[in-house]
């Protein structure tokens, strides 16, 4: 019903304006139609975006200003406002909570830098090596992509089994079979847990880098390589002066996406280490989960999340600003 009413209204609305239309100027409804239609088509998506992303984010940000502890869980709307109290606690790096957060932040940054670097390196190397056709290339590509296609939980839990101290495959091979280590190593406890986390993360993410770079390589014209080769360029020079510059825009997006995924990755450390990650591998996603869900202090947890969000915004924005080509004429 309302559809007809409103449609009738527009019809009658533009009737009187018609005679006053000046020649050469586009008709208003037509212009509105052209400009408005894309927005109208976007509207459902926007509404869902609002519902699924923005509103929870805003509520999360609001909670960070509340002292929402277990005492207010049943009526969380009535939790008292804490002002900047939560932020003061989580950003006080002399205090225990702030110190733990800072530690976790440093761990996450180094984890991300190493994992993204290695994923990109492996993906890039494999994509370049698999660029020229050879027998079995298709099979090899499919095998390379397997880790990315497996469900996260299933593959990470397999890694957790492999890293076990007593019965794990890794210790069995390194210690029992090859005798490289004098005694079995703890991979899921203590300092080695960082290595275990990086290993699993790289294993999971490099196929994505491989896939994207492989696609990027297809768009580089062969003539460029031929011309460079005629000028006497070797394989390293080809990679450096032809491949890399051509992949610039692909790499820009790839590294950003890998960075965000790795930085925010929750599933891998959670499945690998359970509720409480060992300190050397206490990445920020699990840390915030523990701070909010396991100790029931959602105010502080939200404050940490908001700080994290701001950091990621700044880094992503800065990265795009620096790496995007200048838009000068």
């Amino acid at each position: 019903m309302p559809v007809q009413d409103r449609a009738g209204e527009t019809a009658s609305a533009h009737q009187p304006t018609a005679p006053r239309r000046r020649p050469g100027r586009p008709r208003r409804p037509g212009r509105l139609r052209r400009i408005g239609l894309p927005y109208l088509l976007l509207l459902p998506a926007l509404l869902f975006e609002l519902l699924v992303h923005l509103i929870p984010m805003v509520v999360g940000a609001l909670i960070s200003f509340k002292s929402l502890t277990q005492l207010y869980l049943a009526q969380w709307q009535h939790a008292p406002w804490a002002g900047l109290g939560n932020y003061r606690i989580v950003a006080n790096f002399n205090g225990s909570i702030g110190q733990a957060l800072l530690h976790s932040f440093v761990v996450t940054c180094s984890f991300t830098a190493i994992a993204v670097g290695l994923s990109w390196l492996f993906g890039c190397a494999a994509a370049i090596l698999a660029q020229d056709p050879f027998r079995g290339r298709g099979v090899l590509r499919a095998i390379f992509l397997t880790p990315y296609a497996l469900p996260v939980y299933a593959s990470v839990i397999t890694w957790a089994f492999m890293f076990q101290y007593n019965n794990g495959l890794v210790n069995h091979v390194l210690h029992d079979e090859l005798g490289i280590t004098s005694r079995p190593t703890f991979w899921l406890l203590g300092d080695n847990s960082f290595i275990a986390l990086v290993t699993v993360s790289v294993w999971r993410n490099w196929p994505f880098a491989f896939l994207v770079i492989m696609a990027g390589l297809q768009s580089i014209p062969r003539e460029l390589y031929e011309a460079a080769a005629i000028d006497g360029a070797g394989i390293w020079q080809l990679i450096r002066y032809v491949t890399m510059p051509s992949l610039r825009s692909v790499n820009q997006v790839l590294v950003l996406v890998l960075f965000l995924w790795t930085f925010n990755d929750f599933t891998t450390p959670y499945v690998l280490f359970g509720n409480a990650a060992p300190q050397p591998a206490d990445v920020i996603s699990v840390h915030i989960y523990q701070a909010s869900f396991l100790t029931w202090n959602f105010g502080e947890g939200s404050a940490m999340s908001v700080l994290l969000l701001l950091f990621l915004l700044v880094v992503s924005g800065g990265y795009l600003l620096i790496t995007s080509p200048r838009r000068d004429g």
């Binding site: 559809v3 509207l43 005492l71 406890l189 202090n297």
Partner: protein, 439 residues
Amino acid sequence: MSLRPARMTILATAAIIAATSVAACSSGNSTSSGAGTGAGATITYWASDQGSSIADDYKVLNPELAKFTKQTGIKVKLEVVGWADLLNRVLAATTSGQGPDVVNIGNTWSASLQATGAFLPWTSQNFTAIGGQSKFVSSAVGSTGAAGQPPAAVPLYSVAYALYYNKALFQQAGITSPPATWDELIADGKKLTTGGVSGLAIEGGSIPENIHHSFIFAAQHGCSFFSPSGAPTFTGAGCVAGVQQFVNLMGADKIASPGDAEYDQNQSVSDFASGKAAMLMWQAAGANLKSHGMSPSQYGIAPIPVQSGTPGSGTNVDSMVAGINIAIYKNTKNLTAAEKFVQFMTSPAEQTILCKAYGCIPPVSAAQSSSAFGTPELSVLKNVLATSALAMPQVSGESQFEQLVGTAVKNLFADAAAGPVAAQTVEQQLASAQAQMTK
């Protein structure tokens, strides 16, 4: 007229959003009944995982629920929730107000969940509806919420810790009786620790196991982790000494294998069942051991050792009051039906059936006399509960305490895997845990 399709899209979108939000509001609610008997109502029940698997729980509970429906006309929608998810599910239901009507909780969470205000307080009037508070064993009621407030839940199953030992391995090592003090345990443990076998199996990566043992060890040193007013006192000398003694069973005494430090999937139970470890400290392990193929004749059971003397009260406690409580969500639309269900679950007849299936002690006095609970294992557990078990701190910060101190002990086990752990290291970990407690 040309705008019409777009407008229709908007309207359709709005309609979908409205429909989904309405659906979200109505899901989870049960049909309410106006009648005082609750007959015809459907209630939702979240049970905890008590059997050897979740499928096993359904097998045990479904016939009982059918019996209840036949008796009262109240239907019960059962969901068995694994321990890894239960607390989060309870919290989510508390926050959203969209939860089950009746839920099982770990009894140590009672005071923390009581503070959220999610559960129906068991006032004397509510107790009357299920047969009165006096039908429960008093030690079990001691773990249902903070002192001075109506309990947030009522006891459903009780268990206690005991020392399980492998008879054959003891005989091989020439040990005639199970250890009664820690010195004896360490001495026996060293005798038993040979090439492929370790003296004691410890679930070093498990937060609940760590916290329970630490609590007992600390209590034996006169420290309870909380002051009478409920303030955390994690770094008290007794607490540090207790935790240090516990982790050094691995670190210094070396009667537990370093690999135990990362156990958190009940690997210590399977190690004990397969003869890889000679002793195990566990709560009601019988059913669990059976599922691993170990028959009751193969193991003996004794109270957990004490520092000196015999188990009793004060610093001679040897177990926590472990168990499961059952609670009703305050915002249930079927209070009568829910209370009837709790009454049914805590009736002597049902208690006997359920505890027989799960290997627990009924917290209902009238059910305890059944011959089913006279097995050697359950006799020891029953005696421990009656004489030397201590309730975990009944303060609102309890669940935080479990998480933070349990994690600290897990970290300490990682150190213990490499060698002896110093008191100072223990104190640092406990201090850091205490600093994260909400003020």
